[in-house]
Symmetry: C2
């Protein structure tokens, strides 16, 4: 259904990839297209003038509303495109949506109206009720404009492959422009919806171009699906925890000192002094536990001033954090978090099947594997698996990104799961507030959780005793005055507790296998990107 002009790449982003020769070729094609467009416009103008001289049988049935400034409340009920069914055959409906594509030849016009991920074909045939002028008007409406369409729903004999509504179309009787899009789009929705692996010669859009024009990119079925799934993750996280007695809290983002070490923290001018952006809600979640909230969760922004330009780092992301008092053993908490994640995966697979399918069309991936009960491996078991695969990994060393990935593969092969928990991380590689293992000095009561071989959660039993906390902080060379309020929180009795923080965008990326975290952030922030 693409018109000729559409196959010419846009200037904004793709050129980066092209050679000079290709660029010249494109430039010629573009000039040619411009000349053609000009000629077409002239011709259209002449035709319009001629048409204007004729009597218009469609007068009043097409046009633009002008700016909708809330002058009146019209008595129009719109039908959702997704709700159109064969049962409506012969009924007249009002639809509001975007002009996805249009094609006019002689006296016949076809349009596709899009509403989020749903599309329906509309027909405009010049005849007794539809004037030439009407069709001319439709032809001139720019793609992505929002229009109101009134028309007759009709069953079709042959399925319409290019639309989500394949069994019906709408015989258009009225068209009004609600909001006109600029004639020239920086990217085509169809191009941005195309898989990068597409073997055809059709254009796809690179990530920077997408993100530069995020408002358009968000309209693709893939983006629409990703963010619905992401909302589903948050919903499931909250429901699971709320039904288990967790209380939702909110923690401050502006803090007085770089409490978790000092590196990778953004500085803020705070009236006449300096402050910092919280790298996690950790310390405040713990203080809520000391404040007797027992089990808490919070969803909010966290900030990392890391100059990491990778597929999985952002300077700002959403943390799904929880913290929980336990009776005697931090595994009471590990089991809650493990069950929580399994529940989230199940929720997505059960309720977001069509969205997952939509994403997979553009970003093919293996279905996400998980077990009924979470797999928990001791750190030494992970080391053993890596060594068996011929890879170096010290028992007291952190996992490198490469080893994380490899271990993910090995675990998948052996245990048939893309999600697992690695318990008992080396004490040396964890923050000062992590509880040491009681039996083996090398380890700690801490854990990471992984999806498809990448870390999505880091957590631990925290030290709830102020003296041990001070001892460990000194060992880590943390400046004690900077964490005074935090240490004080444990002076007046605090239950043993553990928790963790989940990166929302990482879970979204890894569940869907999209390969870049920026795709699961509405307006991503990284060291090089602060707009839009």
């Amino acid at each position: 259904m693409a018109t000729e002009a559409e196959s010419i790449p846009e200037a904004s982003g793709e050129e980066k990839k092209l050679s000079k020769k290709e660029l010249n070729k494109l430039e010629k094609a573009r000039k040619k297209a411009e000349l053609k467009a000009q000629a077409d416009a002239n011709k259209a103008q002449e035709e319009a003038a001629a048409a204007a001289a004729e009597v218009d049988v469609s007068e009043g049935h097409y046009g633009t509303y002008g700016l909708i400034q809330s002058t009146e409340r019209k008595d129009i009920t719109f039908t959702n495109v997704a709700d159109l069914t064969e049962a409506l055959d012969g009924k007249e409906v009002w639809l509001r949506g975007r002009l996805h594509t249009s094609r006019v030849k002689g006296k016949t016009g076809f349009i596709v109206l899009r509403q989020q991920i749903s599309t329906v074909q509309g027909t405009v045939f010049v005849g007794e009720a539809i004037s030439k002028q009407f069709l001319k008007f439709v032809e001139k409406i720019s793609k992505e404009s929002i229009i109101d369409v009134y028309g007759l729903v009709k069953k079709v004999d042959q399925k319409i492959a290019s639309c989500s509504q394949q069994d019906i179309e709408v015989a258009v009787q009225q068209v009004f422009v609600v909001s006109a899009a600029a004639q020239r789009l920086p990217l085509q929705i169809e191009d941005a919806s195309r898989s990068a692996d597409d073997s055809s010669d059709l254009v796809s859009v690179n990530l920077d171009t997408r993100l530069d024009n995020r408002v358009l990119d968000l309209r693709t079925p893939t983006s629409q699906a990703i963010f619905k799934i992401q909302a589903g993750i948050c919903e499931s996280f909250r429901n699971h925890l709320a039904s288990r007695g967790f209380v939702e809290i909110h923690t401050p983002k502006i803090i007085s000192a770089a409490s978790e070490g000092g590196a990778n923290v953004f500085e803020v001018s705070y009236f006449k002094r300096s402050a910092y952006l919280a790298q996690s809600p950790q310390l405040y979640k713990q203080m809520a536990i000391a404040g007797d909230f027992n089990k808490v969760y919070t969803i909010g922004s966290v900030f990392r001033a890391e100059d990491s330009n990778t597929h999985r780092h952002m300077t700002e992301f959403i943390g799904l954090d929880l913290e929980m008092a336990f009776s005697f053993h931090y595994h009471e908490v590990v089991e809650v978090i493990g069950g929580l994640l399994i529940d989230i995966f199940r929720h997505l697979q059960t309720n977001y099947g069509s969205e997952i399918e939509a994403v997979r069309k553009q970003y093919p991936s293996e279905p996400f594997l998980f077990t009924e009960k979470p797999l928990i491996l001791h750190f030494t078991e992970g080391v053993k698996l890596l060594k068996e695969a011929g890879v170096e990994q010290g028992v007291e060393e952190d996992l490198s990104t490469a080893n994380e990935r490899l271990l993910g593969k090995l675990v998948r092969e052996k245990y048939k799961t893309d999600y697992y928990i690695l318990d008992k991380f080396p004490l040396a590689v964890r923050p000062f507030y992590t509880m040491p293992d009681p039996t083996d000095k090398r380890f700690s009561n801490s854990y990471d959780m992984f999806m498809r071989g990448e870390e999505i959660l880091s957590g631990a039993q925290r030290i709830h005793d102020p003296d041990l906390l001070i001892e460990r902080a000194k060992l880590h060379e943390v400046e004690l005055p900077k964490i005074q309020a935090y240490i004080d929180a444990f002076k007046y009795g605090c239950p043993p507790h553990a928790g963790g923080g989940i990166g929302l965008e990482r879970v979204t990326m890894l569940f869907l296998g999209t390969g870049n975290i920026r795709l699961s952030s509405l307006f991503p922030r990284d060291p090089k990107r602060l707009t839009p």
Copy 2:
């Protein structure tokens, strides 16, 4: 049940209010108490030495666990204090809670065990199974320590007025300290729970002392209740909107330019350049609308660098924001928001009765009045009401705080509601992106919502046409290059839309009538407070 020592005020906060004479008196009392405490300690030590010489029938039934480092998973099931009932009479239970108070005289001891807002009395009587040493141990446990208690549930003949469990007590058989509190507390939970209006001579705690020791202050029934109600507001907000097709989104907090004017914005060092903290998610919500999400909401931190030291301003708070495409008139959105708030109020009154009651004990207030359907007044009606009350108010001027309050009172008298919507604010006092009224140049399609005469929401139809947006931005002297990405968002078709942002802590404060917004922030931030 207060011991003698408790009635002596603590050093930390209350002194600010006292005269020099009073201070001297207090100082004397304190010295006397210290001497007495020393004498008591000596005596106790002697007694303990004597007791140690005796055979201990309670050996192994009391002590401290030592640091709970997850050495083992004990086979103990704890009963919640709130779940104790007369039906458990004669049964033995394990309880974990804080030692709220204790009182030992001779061979009898009474303790109160507290778990969040629930309390139960425990008895420790020296006898066949309970040794003197056991009682000594219990006597020495510091208040606010977390302890495990094993004991026999017993019905009592006379109601125990000082506990939430009034019909039963627990005959203590075992006691273990889980986490010991420091002997000296910066504030007493009971003092911090007392109403400031208390006519007795008992001590109450001022706000700064509370907030300096927030972890202790959070343990009061009032704080526990406030934050459960606040979680209820968020839950109700989300449920109401999700069931109406709204999608939850997350917007960036770090932005490249001070998009809403430039004043009152925090600056952030962002690698080698400057960035800012978003004053609202407004522009990003709108871009999500232009990106076809149709109806969105977001809950997140917003930042205001205002040097306002009032009862209702904070530099960081939680915004409950929504934005919605509408068909023809922004009142479609006003009705949704109005219904949303009424639904939240109803949810709180229905499901949080005991929490509201708990808060009211410390902060007495009139029950919050609201109507079945939200009251919507035109700005000119507000002006008229004020004028009738003899107060100056221009039709094109913003409401002063005093006039807001007065208008709240007048509306309450006339319409019997503490919640109302003031529609059609003067165009001159609203931001550049506010849609002008189509019929009267003085006004705009914008609204504020009020609770008990204070603003809790500001909202409007936004300009969705890029040309009008540029025109209005120029008039407001906004630097166009700084809002380029925002303006661009409307170039490719955007439905008419409106929305608003609700201050979570304000709604909490005003619904409960607590009088200070800091009480409804877990760890409040204002120009002078950045810790804890």
